[in-house]
Amino acid sequence: MALIPISLKVNGTRFERAVEPRRLLSDFLREDLDLKATHVGCEHGVCGACTVLVDGQAVRSCLSFAVQADGCELRTADGLARGGKLSALQQAFWEKHGLQCGFCTPGMLMVATELLERNARPTKAEIEEAISSNLCRCTGYYTIVESVQRAAELMQEGAK
């Protein structure tokens, strides 16, 4: 199958590659760009571990083809920390024990990023609704909700 050239930005860096049409966006990020933060769980859209932001919107990277992201701006969990310093959201997950095994964490971080950009002070119910798309087998979700609440606080403080 012929390769198709694509050009896209990931975490602010432009990449140009040629991809097979069937290349999933999740595999493109991990294998072709060597950005391993995005995790691959179920590969049929159920678990949410592979969630990334495409033009600001949370999407399942296992349900998109890399070729479809041509010209788009992507953000992944690889780009959250800056200069070795955790982002407010990551810091909150650290403080509140929002992860145990860490497999679901990149997806959780990206849905929480989308939520907090849309809604700086989400209610508990709004956080639960936002993360309901993603499975976690360790935490029971309580500490993830607390982490997102804490992140909202940290971001408010940082904005002052």
């Binding site: 049929h44 949370a58 849905v111 309901s132």
Partner: protein, 287 residues
């Protein structure tokens, strides 16, 4: 798993998309949001030879009101429709049902046209569109036609679309005064596939029900209307006894197959309970 190899085509206009569909025949599949098609490809349940990606076709995601109809482009995303003030004003039933459809990231990508073309019997929108007597606008390289939603869904995962045809728009009669509608659903968890769901739309005039539409999800086919139940409701005052009788009828007329979480007997019970709840809520909103 990974999808089987395919050829990728990205038309820049609707005529180009229709030409590609005509050229590739049954080998070509439309790729819209991909939230049902790509999982099936990853699991290799389907192996389309050619994917025709319509995501960059302009003008295919518009939402507007035209005369007495809400007109939704096939490529309109679930998230956009759930948040749309136009949809909320003219088809609140759709918004209520959309709150049960999957989760944020899926709704960001999934489209109404793709949802109904996939035609999952558990899906909310086929029932909503059937209850509203919506019309499905479809096109091929040869021309356009309109299919009533009640005739569009022919069975589980099958529709009245012919080879070379694709859905381009959905036309829904706007809500009128005296009408009330409601969606009620039972699912294991919020956003999961429905075990059963019921859309009810009633018109009340002079204290009596003059029109009723009841459509169910999770039963034998998508977009299934229950005319026997509707007949039971019309002419009554929609009091508790009339609704209970109609709801009991719902459990008689559906022919669900079982799923892992709900056997046919349980689904019939759900059809009764959810019909009663949906019709009661629709009645209360009509007043």
């Amino acid at each position: 798993m990974k999808p089987a190899p395919f050829e990728y085509v990205r038309p820049g206009s609707l005529p180009e998309a229709l030409d590609a569909l005509a050229r590739h025949g049954p080998a070509g599949r439309i790729l819209a949001g991909g939230q049902s098609l790509v999982p099936m490809m990853n699991l290799r349940l389907v192996k389309p030879a050619v994917l025709i990606d319509i995501n960059r076709v302009p003008g295919l995601a518009d939402v507007r009101v035209d005369g007495g109809e809400l007109v939704i482009g096939a490529l309109a995303r679930h998230a956009a429709l759930l948040a749309s003030e136009t949809v909320a004003a003219h088809c609140p039933l759709m918004v209520e049902a959309y709150a049960c459809v999957a989760h944020g990231p899926i709704r960001n990508r999934g489209t109404l046209g793709g949802n109904i073309s996939h035609a999952d019997p558990a899906s909310e929108m086929p029932a909503v569109l059937a209850a509203c007597d919506a019309k499905i606008g479809v096109r091929s390289a040869k021309g356009a036609r309109t299919i009533p939603a009640t005739e569009f869904f022919t069975g589980a995962l099958s529709t009245a679309l012919a080879d070379g045809e694709m859905v381009t728009e959905i036309r829904i009669p706007t809500v009128k005064s005296g009408q009330g509608a409601a969606w009620r659903e039972a699912a294991n968890r919020q956003g999961d596939f429905a075990m059963a769901g019921v859309a009810a739309l009633v018109t009340v005039a002079g204290g009596k029900c003059t029109h009723a539409s009841v459509a169910v999800a999770g039963m034998e086919r998508p977009g299934l209307r229950l005319p026997a139940v509707e007949k039971q409701l019309v002419g009554t005052t929609l009091d508790a006894a009339a609704i209970a009788a109609a709801a009991a009828m719902a459990s008689e007329v559906v022919r669900p197959s079982g799923s892992y979480h709900a056997d046919p007997i349980y689904k019939r019970d759900l059809a009764e309970t959810l019909t009663a709840r949906a019709v009661t809520a629709a009645r209360d909103r009509a007043r």
